[in-house]
């Protein structure tokens, strides 16, 4: 479905599962560790990794996990954002009130 490793050290992210934003966020997280190029097609996004093949293969799996993590987080946001925002607003508002004394 998604996150398949290709021979040339790349990963294909199926558009039915992964949004472009999730893959781009994962690429941002890995920007200091891996040289990543993203190519978008109608079917999805292919990420290819530059640099040493060994390191690319090693980190490619971790990159796919990160994209999955980002996608799950975005899916969860759609589902749970109302409750999450209540918690966040309460915490920030309470902390922001300056003491009157």
């Amino acid at each position: 479905m998604g996150g398949k490793m290709k021979k040339e050290a790349g990963v294909f992210f199926d558009a039915r599962v992964y949004s472009p934003e999730a893959v781009k966020l994962a690429a941002a997280v890995f920007s200091g560790r891996l040289d990543i190029s993203l190519k978008r097609t109608a079917r999805g996004i292919t990420a290819t990794f530059g640099g040493a093949a060994e390191r690319a293969a090693e980190l490619g799996g971790a990159f796919a996990n990160e994209a999955l993590n980002q996608q799950c987080r975005m899916d969860l946001e759609r589902k749970n954002s109302r409750l999450a925002r209540i918690v966040l607003t309460k915490a920030l508002l309470s902390a922001t009130q300056r003491h009157a004394g």
Partner: protein, 487 residues
């Protein structure tokens, strides 16, 4: 909503029979259930399936307990459950209570795991000036929290004694004038402690805390001190303050000194010696803290670090030994367990900034650097010392209190540590008691959110929670743990 529940035939199940939202996990041959009120319960597999089917009825041995804990839909006492949740999450209502003052970056120790970015004691321009300290106190008092705790850290805070002394006096005066509850604490290695300094701290009700990593060889190996034995200095002054506290002369409260244990690879397998050291000193608590790969520790991780499973094994062995000592009459408690138990057993908020949702960064604590820069937490400040100012929230001279609280750093940390938005966490059985750390995630995994399946902090906390919950289920160990949080 039940996540990943075993498949059961719904049949003609009515809504009333469907259990309310809870979290669960199989553990030690049974099923642990928890909910957002902080209640927990154990069921065997058969009864768990019965509960899911709506077949666990009144008269069943587990029914009353489940009903009281909010696991039976027809018996939900919303007022009681809401009250428990509100008490457990009290931190959501009050703003930052912990204010960490880095009075100097200088230090006379060179600890292997130092995360504070300390520099040599001869360095210039690394001390907090008195005007900066005074403005920092004023800033801290702008927090809406009724209770303000100012913790003096470093570096070694006694190296900037002049500012520390003035700050203590000023904060006490301000506390009296505003009627606020003020706690003052110094975290020191005690190597520069004198009778005069100790007398001043006692007279101003300043509590003291030192690192104690175990027996002399282990402590001194972790905490390098060129001018002698770090261990001897630490132990000497812990005994001194302990004696003063036991005697309680005069009107001022003399607090029991506390000590912090940092577990390195060298500590593994030596839990008995370490705990014996604390017990021999008459310490009430030992705080078994894992090392984080931040600061010097990150560079030396291969030498002094360990995996989550290694730490959890050490923690479990330590707790077992503490149970053994307690059964023999030595009253020593493990602090991490105590803080978890306050939530699990009493549904109270221990005000522990590391283990809450959202995390305490900014909204529960602030760290004031020697130059007046404000960070979400001390860990965030340490990163800035390495050149990354992501967690900087403002400056005491340039920023208004509200600007700091609504700074990108504070908002980002609060959003990223909201467990309702964390995949894996939001369905975790320990969610009602746990918290993530955006600084750790950023350092270890490259993003504030982190990724929990491969997050070592998450694995460590899960292991500790498992240890505590399994111990609570055991008759003898459970009785000891409950006694630790009895009011």
């Amino acid at each position: 909503m039940i996540q990943n529940a075993p498949k059961v035939k719904a049949g003609k199940q009515t809504l009333a029979a469907v259990p309310p939202h809870f979290y669960w996990q199989r553990l030690g041959g049974r099923v642990l259930l928890t909910n957002d009120a902080g209640c927990s319960s154990w069921l065997d597999e058969k009864d768990f399936r019965l509960l899911l089917k709506g077949g666990l009825k009144e008269g069943h041995p587990a029914f009353a307990g489940l009903a009281e804990g909010g696991f039976i839909r027809t018996r939900l006492d919303f007022n009681a459950l809401a009250l428990k949740n509100k008490r457990k999450e009290a931190h959501l209502q009050i703003g930052p209570g912990l204010h960490i003052f880095v009075t100097t970056l200088r230090c006379n120790h060179k600890c292997l795991y130092c995360q504070s970015g300390a520099i040599s004691q001869a360095s210039k321009g690394a001390d907090m000036s008195w005007p900066t300290a005074r403005r920092s106190v004023d800033f801290a008092f702008e927090s809406p929290n009724r209770g303000i705790t100012i913790e003096f850290q470093g570096g070694e805070p006694l190296l900037n004694w002049g500012t520390l002394e003035k700050t203590v006096r000023y904060a006490r005066k301000k506390g009296r004038e505003t009627g606020r509850e003020l706690g003052l604490a110094v975290v020191s290695n005690f190597s520069l402690m004198t009778e005069e300094k100790a007398a001043f701290l006692i007279a101003n009700e300043v509590s003291v805390c030192a690192s104690l990593d175990g027996p002399e060889d282990l402590h001194n190996n972790n905490r390098k001190y060129a001018e002698g034995s770090s261990y001897k200095q630490t132990v000497k002054w812990l005994k001194y303050f302990r004696k003063k506290s036991d005697n309680q002369e005069g009107e001022k409260r003399v607090f029991r000194p506390s000590a912090l244990l940092t577990v390195t690879r060298y500590s593994l397998g030596r839990h008995k010696e370490i705990i014996d050291e604390y017990a021999a000193l008459g310490m009430d608590f030992i705080f078994i803290r894992p090392l984080a790969p931040i600061g010097y520790a990150k560079n030396l991780w291969g030498k002094i670090g360990y995996s989550a499973s290694e730490f959890v094994r050490f923690y479990r062995d330590s707790l077992d030994y503490i149970f053994e000592l307690n059964s023999k009459g030595t009253a020593i408690k493990e602090k991490m367990a105590v803080m978890m138990l306050k939530k699990i057993v009493r549904q109270d908020d221990p005000m522990f900034v590391d283990l809450r949702c959202p995390c305490g960064a900014g909204i529960g604590q602030l760290a004031y650097d020697h130059n007046g820069d404000i960070y979400t937490c001390d860990e965030g400040r340490m990163l800035a010392w390495e050149g990354d100012e992501l967690f900087k929230a403002g400056n005491v001279f340039k920023s208004k209190y509200s600007e700091v609280m609504l700074s990108p750093a504070v908002k980002a940390c609060a959003a990223a540590s909201n467990l309702e938005m964390q995949p894996v966490c939001f369905r975790c059985v320990y969610k009602p008691f746990c918290g993530v750390c955006p600084v750790y995630n950023y350092e270890a995994q490259g993003s504030l959110w982190g990724s929990m399946p491969s997050n070592e902090r998450c694995a460590t906390l899960k292991g500790i929670f498992e240890t505590v919950f399994l111990a609570l289920r055991d008759k003898k160990k459970g009785a000891v743990l409950r006694s630790w949080v009895e009011k």
